[in-house]
């Protein structure tokens, strides 16, 4: 197990290094002089301003040295300073990462809590009405863009029934209940988009396992169907579900962009969109890196969970 954890950590580190290099090169890949692009319409500004920004972006150094400086900065958790308002990128990331993580965790919990029971229903009554209903819900969830889900939820629960606020954010330290009320609709929107994947995987996994020899043996022993289903079949069927949740975590992060924009949730992806608009390079690089690191962290966690569930994986 130690060997597996070590290998997996090393692979994550390598991925992060490759992604980090890509993020670093963005500023050099973009067409035109980044400083002039940054200054935009006010491009007539004095050479001193241009030189100052060039220095701030460390663009005057040779490329190799710039890369070295960048890596060294990251190693010391120094991502630079925002070009727009002078706030250190790290400080901004530190306040925003927990907000995005909160949404992801809540929506995963919602997706699993709804998806696994529906998937079990789908497999158990695969030829009946309930199975058909579970498949229909799955394909609806897969076809629904997250902003469509969000708009429908806002119109129903916020405008019609006035249960939750339609958009915004309150810090939990100020008002915990208010914070949770604001978080419910965005998490539900993200979670509903992910439920379809969980239903399909649970259903397919369970149907496959139900055809296996040991399930027949369990039935032949005279075990009640409930025990066969939940004790023998489901525990094994859920292993691939755990892995695929990790693989699809990218979808969740992608949906987060839309959800944060729709609900004005001040998380990581709204920071990315804003810094792209503002051409705030240090902020954009820092945010992209944080998002990819988050993604790699999620898949690492899921893989380690998987290895604890399935001993074969650790040895393989």
């Amino acid at each position: 197990m130690v060997r597996y954890v070590f290998l997996r950590l090393w692979a994550s580190f390598l991925t992060l290094a490759i992604v980090g290099t890509l993020v670093f090169s963005i500023i050099h890949l973009l067409p035109g002089d980044p400083v002039l692009v940054l200054l935009g319409e006010q491009g007539t500004s004095s050479p001193e301003v241009v030189a100052k920004i060039r220095k701030q972006l460390r663009l005057a150094l040779p490329l190799g040295l710039q890369y070295y400086e960048w890596v060294r900065g990251i190693a010391r958790l120094d991502f630079g300073v925002s070009l727009q308002n002078g706030i250190p990128v790290l400080q901004e990331l530190r306040t925003r990462i927990p907000r995005s993580l909160e949404l992801i965790a809540a929506s995963l919990a919602i997706a699993v809590a709804l998806g696994i029971p529906l998937g079990v229903l789908g497999a158990r009554y695969s030829n009946g009405g309930l199975g058909w209903l579970s498949s229909l819900l799955a394909i609806l969830s897969l076809s629904m863009p997250s902003f469509v889900t969000g708009v429908i939820l806002v119109v129903t629960f916020s405008l019609e029934f006035r249960l939750f606020p339609s958009s915004g954010y309150v810090a939990p330290s100020e008002d915990l209940v208010g914070h949770l009320l604001y978080a419910i609709l965005p998490s539900l929107t993200l979670g509903i988009g992910f439920v379809g994947v969980v239903i399909r995987m649970t259903r397919a996994g369970l149907l496959e396992v139900l055809g296996k020899g040991y399930v027949r043996t369990a039935r032949a022993k005279g075990l009640p169907e409930r025990s066969v289903l939940y004790h023998h079949a489901l525990t094994n069927a859920l292993i691939p579900v755990v892995t695929l949740i990790g693989v699809r975590a990218g979808n969740l992060l992608g949906g987060m962009v839309i959800v944060e924009s729709l609900f004005n949730w001040p998380g990581l992806s709204s920071l990315l969109v804003r810094s792209c608009y503002d051409r705030d390079y240090p902020m954009m690089q820092g945010t992209l890196l944080a998002i990819f690191a988050l993604f790699i962290f999620i898949s690492l966690t899921i893989d380690l969970c998987h290895a604890t569930l399935d001993p074969r994986l650790r040895e393989g």
């Binding site: 076809s143 469509v148 708009v151 429908i152 405008l159 339609s166 397919a204 149907l207 962009v257 990315l272």
Partner: protein, 273 residues
């Protein structure tokens, strides 16, 4: 008759829906009741009425007409992007699947690394910096989805390559391109068609998402995602207008996904779960 309908209920449900969108896209000019760009400042955010069947938007433009013209944009962006993804993906996948060895290994590692990055982030950065617009949007979405295509084609092509009829053809003296085009390609066509359908729905979702964020199709040209993005700010004044483009997107993607599922079961019954 009953079993015939049961077997094809998904096609019978989704086919006509898709046909409606295709017709709307092709005959937008004839079908649209009003000019989709004409602004009526006195007539904004109206609920559905006899004059405007689906109401009006924040500038008083007719929503039904904008939806009809929007189908042209949404379908053509997705279609062109899928075209690019298919061409590059099939060519690369066939090459890697046929040659095998290190070419396959290299391509698969590259694709694995690529697939672990959520597409929308790359798309946001590209669109924000290289400027948005039809051509850029198509190019970006097409490039983002060809790796998945190549991966699927490569794995199926590699398994077909080892089948007896390919060996027989090789024994008869057939070489490279002939084997790929005459033996492998026809045998993986069904997989390509299914992948094409699903990529179409991904591409539509991505286009809608980018346009929703204001990074895709630029106003005043209507696209469904952009209409939702614009109208969502006015839900407090009138929640009805935003629901129409939302539901249109939902129905269109639902129809494509349903047809994809049906094609999957019909063409490749051995893969179906």
């Amino acid at each position: 008759m009953r079993s015939w309908i049961l077997c094809r209920h998904r096609l019978l449900l989704a086919g006509p829906l898709l046909l409606v969108f295709l017709l709307a896209a092709v005959f937008s000019g004839w079908l649209a009741p009003a000019d989709p760009l004409k602004i009526h400042p006195r007539n904004i955010l109206q609920s559905p009425s006899a004059r405007h069947l689906l109401g009006t938007d924040q500038l008083g433009r007719d929503i039904l007409s904008r939806l009809i013209y929007g189908s042209r944009i949404s379908l053509s962006v997705a279609g062109a992007a899928v075209g690019i993804a298919t061409l590059i993906g099939v060519a690369l996948g066939l090459l890697a699947g046929y040659v095998g060895r290190w070419v396959e290994g290299l391509l698969m590692r590259f694709i694995d690394a690529f697939l672990c990055i959520p597409e929308i982030f790359v798309a946001i950065v590209i669109m924000a910096f290289f400027g948005s617009g039809f051509g850029m949007l198509v190019l970006t979405i097409g490039t983002l989805y060809f790796p998945q295509f190549a991966r699927v084609v490569c794995s199926v092509a590699a398994s077909v390559r080892r089948r007896e009829f390919v060996e027989a053809s090789t024994a008869l003296g057939a070489r490279g391109l002939r084997i790929v085009c005459r033996e492998i390609l026809p045998n993986i066509a069904s997989v390509i068609i299914v992948q094409l359908t699903f990529t179409m729905s991904f591409a539509m979702l991505l286009e809608a998402g980018l346009s929703f964020l204001g990074l895709g199709i630029m106003p005043p040209t209507p696209s469904w995602g952009q209409m939702v993005g614009d109208l969502k700010d006015y839900v407090h004044i009138n929640p009805l207008p935003v629901l129409f483009p939302s539901l249109t997107l939902l129905v269109a993607i639902f129809a494509i996904n349903t047809i994809g599922d049906w094609l999957q079961d019909w063409l490749n019954p051995e893969i179906a779960g």
